[in-house]
Symmetry: C2
Subunit: 160 residues, 2 copies
C-alpha cells in the first residue's frame, strides 16, 4: 500500500526504453575515436595524444609551454605528460628548455621536426574527422553540437 493512484490523467510516457542520450554519447565517442586512431595507426603515425601536444605547442607563444601548462591544456595528468614529452623529445619533436629564474621548472618547446610531424598528422587527421564525424552532421547540427559541448565543458570545468 503506497501508490498514489487516483491520478485522473497519467502523463507518464509509456515505459520508454529507447537508449537515451548519455549511453549513446559514450558509445559514439568510443567508436569515433577508435576509427580516427585507426586511420593514424594505418598511416604509421603516432596517436592522438602526440598530436594534441604538438598542436597545443604550435599555437602557444614562442611555441613553448611549461610542463604543467602543457599538461593542463592537453588535459593529460602531469605524470603522463612527463613520459610523453620524454618520447617526443627522443624523437626530436620537442626539446626541454630550462626556465630562467626557476631551476625547478622546464619548458617543452616545439622543434621544426615536431611541427612537420604535426602537419603530417593533420593530413590524415583532418580528413578522418570529416569522414567519421562532420560528414554525418548538417551544418546546423555541427554548430548545435559544438555549443552543447562547450556548455557541458564549461559547467564541468575541472574543479580546483
Amino acid at each position: 500500500m503506497s501508490e498514489k493512484k487516483t491520478r485522473p490523467t497519467r502523463s507518464k510516457p509509456p515505459l520508454k526504453k529507447e537508449p537515451s542520450a548519455w549511453p549513446m554519447f559514450l558509445k559514439a565517442h568510443d567508436a569515433l575515436v577508435a576509427r580516427v586512431e585507426e586511420r593514424l595507426c594505418d598511416a604509421g603515425l603516432p596517436d592522438l595524444s602526440w598530436f594534441t601536444v604538438l598542436w597545443v605547442l604550435e599555437r602557444a607563444p614562442d611555441q613553448r609551454l611549461r610542463m604543467a601548462e602543457l599538461a593542463d591544456a592537453a588535459v593529460i595528468p602531469r605524470s603522463n605528460l612527463t613520459r610523453l614529452v620524454d618520447k617526443l623529445e627522443k624523437d626530436g619533436l620537442v626539446v626541454r628548455e630550462r626556465v630562467s629564474g626557476d631551476r625547478r621548472g622546464a619548458y617543452a618547446r616545439l622543434t621544426p621536426e615536431g611541427d612537420s610531424m604535426r602537419k603530417a598528422m593533420w593530413t590524415v587527421y583532418k580528413p578522418a574527422i570529416n569522414e567519421v564525424f562532420l560528414q554525418h552532421l548538417s551544418a546546423q547540427e555541427t554548430v548545435a553540437l559544438r555549443e552543447m559541448m562547450e556548455r557541458l565543458l564549461e559547467a564541468n570545468h575541472t574543479e580546483v
Copy 2:
C-alpha cells in the same frame, strides 16, 4: 573531388579559429566521464565498466550472456572481459555457467548480489548523469544529441 576555382567572389570565412565541434566533443567527453567516475568513486562503488556489464546482463534473457556476446554488447575487448568477469565473479556479482552442448563456451550470469550492486550504483549514477549532463541541455537538445550520436555510431559501426 572538390576543386572549383575561378570563383569570382571568395566566400571563404575570414580565418575562423574558434574551436570546432570535434575537439570540443573530445574534451567534453573526457571531462564528463571523469566527473561521473568521481561520483562513483567517492561513493565507494566500482567504476563504469562494472556497471555496464551488470546493466547489460540485467536486461539479457535469463540475465545471462555468452562471454563474447557480453564483450560485444559492453564494447570491451574479449581479453579484458575475461579479467573483468574474473573480478565480478570473485565479488559474487556474476557467476560463470557451462554451456550445454558446447564445452568451449561459458555464460556469465547476473547474481542477485550483482543486481543489488547494479541498483546501488544506479542510485549514484543516475543523479550524476542528470547533474553533469542532462541538466545542462534542453529537452530538444537532448533528443537532437541522441539522434546525432545514433547516426554517428551507425555510420561507424565496428567494421567486420
